[in-house]
């Protein structure tokens, strides 16, 4: 089973850079694994430590803050 582990990763992405990058990946038809669940935030400065804890508490294996 350990080989089939698929982590659930919550991506908190800044709308102006990381999220735009993810968007561009989409429009350019570049594939990326579906493990990342992206959440758009207006700025990575908006990310509160509570979001990170909440994501883990809800079952995320990793949290990616990008921006």
């Amino acid at each position: 089973m350990a080989d089939n582990f698929e982590p659930k990763i919550v991506g908190l992405l800044c709308t102006w850079c990381a999220y735009a990058g993810a968007d561009l990946a989409g429009t350019s038809r570049i594939k990326y694994p579906p493990n990342v669940r992206s959440i758009r935030v207006m700025c990575s400065g908006r990310v509160d430590p509570q979001f990170v804890l909440d994501a883990f508490a809800h079952g995320a294996d990793g949290v990616l803050v990008s921006g």
């Binding site: 509570q50 804890l53 909440d54 079952g59």
Partner: protein, 326 residues
């Protein structure tokens, strides 16, 4: 004359301060006595377990429960109080969020026992003797309650109607709660009977627009300026994430806010919120500089969760929380 209300006060894993707070309402206690019969209050009067047992289910109008739930006896009391009370009020910081007893949740119960009975410098216990849950005394079998895996807040064990926060709860909010009961004007279930903003909103100290901290200091090692915001002076203060209603009593008296009223409505993890608050005021250009400043902040986990570790997300196993929770 209509039938009197029936009040009960149940202590649990607590220091007794909450019950002192009840007595602290001074002459208002006479009004309470006029309004209600106290049917159970073992701290102040000679009540025994069997007296509580004898009260029929729903026989208590308002039950006040103070203290965390730490052992199986506390669980029994919590369930009993829930069954017998029409309205159950979580009284004080420990019942609301686990309080000081829940700081022990940073360790397992076994680790705590090891510390307590083996490694405390004043303990001499070469045989590793531990308290036994059962002992056959000549007079009969004696038993002790079993400590659970961790301390719990009251609402993690039974359904709670209202919360009176604080360590201990403030007289004016106790009076407000009793008056609400007397008038039959109870707020919606789950209400925390206190302010709705942060302690900073009530704090009389002067704040500048831009908080900038380059060094943390411990409050007893410096003389603080009584006019200025403590955080701006580099003294850790929990005001930004703590519910108001205490009129910033500690800060007015020259002590930093310790967060006993618990988080405001918009905060679901007090430590995380305080970490966020600290992060936004520390002025550092490099990681090394930031580390140096934060190293001076003693025991942040203990400080940020002083009254609320049982209720914090740190105690939650991964994936335990379901959608719709908080």
């Amino acid at each position: 004359m209509p039938e009197k209300f029936k009040f009960a006060f149940m202590p649990s894993a607590s220091c007794g301060g909450c019950e002192i707070a009840v007595v602290d309402i001074d002459e208002v206690i006479l009004k309470v006595a006029e309004l209600a019969d106290i049917v159970y209050w073992p701290t102040a009067l000679d009540f025994k377990d069997k007296d509580l047992e004898a009260i029929p289910d729903g026989g208590i109008t308002v039950g006040f429960f103070n203290g965390a739930v730490r052992n199986d006896h506390d669980v029994h009391h919590a369930k009993q109080m829930r069954r017998k009370s029409q309205v159950l009020v979580s009284f004080g910081a420990c019942a609301q969020m686990g309080g000081i007893p829940s700081l022990g949740n940073f360790w397992t119960t076994e680790e705590l026992a090891h510390r307590m009975y083996d490694t405390v410098p004043s303990v001499v216990n070469p045989d590793g003797t531990r308290p036994q849950l059962k002992y056959d005394a000549p007079e009969g079998e004696l038993t002790l309650p079993r400590a659970m895996d961790r301390a719990y807040a009251l609402d993690q064990v039974v359904d709670v109607d209202y919360y009176l926060p604080g360590c201990p709860p403030q007289v004016k909010w106790i009076v407000a709660a009793v008056e609400a009961v007397a008038k039959g004007e109870l707020p919606p279930k789950g209400t925390v009977i206190a302010g709705t903003k942060a302690v900073c909103d009530e704090c009389p100290r002067e704040r500048s627009e831009e908080k900038q901290v380059t060094e943390f200091k411990r409050i007893h090692l410096v003389e603080n300026d009584p006019e200025k915001c403590l955080l701006e002076q580099g003294i850790m203060c929990c005001g930004p994430a703590t519910r108001d209603g205490c009129e910033a009593a500690c800060v007015v008296a020259g002590q930093a806010c310790r967060g006993c009223f618990g988080p405001t409505d918009n905060v679901n993890d007090m430590g995380a919120k305080l970490a966020s608050a600290i992060a936004s005021i520390v002025i550092a250009d490099t990681q090394a500089e930031a580390d140096k400043i934060l190293d001076k902040l003693d025991d942040p986990a203990g400080y940020f969760y002083r009254f609320g570790l049982a209720r914090s997300m740190l105690g939650v196993q991964r994936g335990e929380r379901k959608d719709g929770d908080e």
